[in-house]
């Protein structure tokens, strides 16, 4: 992971990407027990090109390929980890990135999405494995309801949370 994060930090220093933060199972592992996963999700703010409304991952892939990385489907292998770069499109994702938690992995500086934002993004994504992860966060008291509730309200997820709670938490 160290080599992966060093390369991503290099991209940030070179202006290829803006702020970034680890999400998905690896991000959740910051708060929970180690979770099995095949890849690393990196939420990223892409620099905008003046006059172009489109945000493209192509420059990132070109940058990494030029440094010996190779693609594997929709992921690119950086160090020994397949990485999926996820541009922060929604207001929720942008807020999550702006409030990411700074940490270190083997002396390499990095950022992880906050627990409450990971839960909110999982709720929004809404696959079975996302719901299972939310349950893990709740079981381990890894989320602060006083922080989570305003996020759900702000991003229109309160109704979805109620449905989730009825189905998975009241049985």
């Amino acid at each position: 992971m160290k080599a992966t994060l060093e390369m991503i930090n290099g991209m940030k220093n070179d202006g290829m990407i803006g702020i970034y933060a680890i999400g998905g199972a690896v991000g959740a592992t910051f708060y929970l027990e180690p979770l099995a996963t095949a890849d690393v999700d990196i939420f990223v703010m892409l620099p905008t090109v003046p006059g172009s409304p489109l945000l493209s991952l192509a420059p990132i892939y070109d940058y990494l390929r030029a440094r010996g990385c190779h693609t594997e489907g929709e992921r690119i292998v950086v160090g020994d980890w397949p990485v999926q770069f996820l541009p922060a499109h929604s207001a929720l994702e942008q807020e999550a990135l702006a409030q990411a938690v700074e940490t270190e992995v083997e002396d390499v500086r990095t950022w992880v999405l906050g627990a409450e934002h990971l839960v909110a993004i999982a709720l929004e994504t809404g696959r079975a494995k996302d719901y299972a992860r939310i349950v893990q966060f709740l079981e381990q008291d890894a989320v602060d309801a006083d922080k989570l509730n305003p996020i759900l309200m702000r991003h229109g997820l309160a109704g979805k949370w109620e449905k989730f709670a009825r189905k998975y938490l009241e049985e």
């Binding site: 992971m1 592992t29 099995a36 381990q140």
Partner: protein
């Protein structure tokens, strides 16, 4: 059940770098299983119990 909860709590309290080493071991184990074809065999046996005797 309590032991499992305690174990998970203990694992969750490890430093992030240490937890990531465990995640990497889990990933490598999954890759090895996938490469060996064991997973496919297991799925096939679940779908077709007769395959178990083959």
């Amino acid at each position: 059940m309590n032991m499992d909860k305690e174990r998970r709590k203990r694992l969750a309290s490890l430093p992030f770098s240490e937890k990531l080493k465990i995640v990497e071991k889990l990933r490598d184990r999954d890759r090895a299983i996938a490469a060996s074809g064991l997973r496919k065999m297991k799925v096939r046996q679940a779908v077709d119990p007769v395959a178990q005797s083959k």
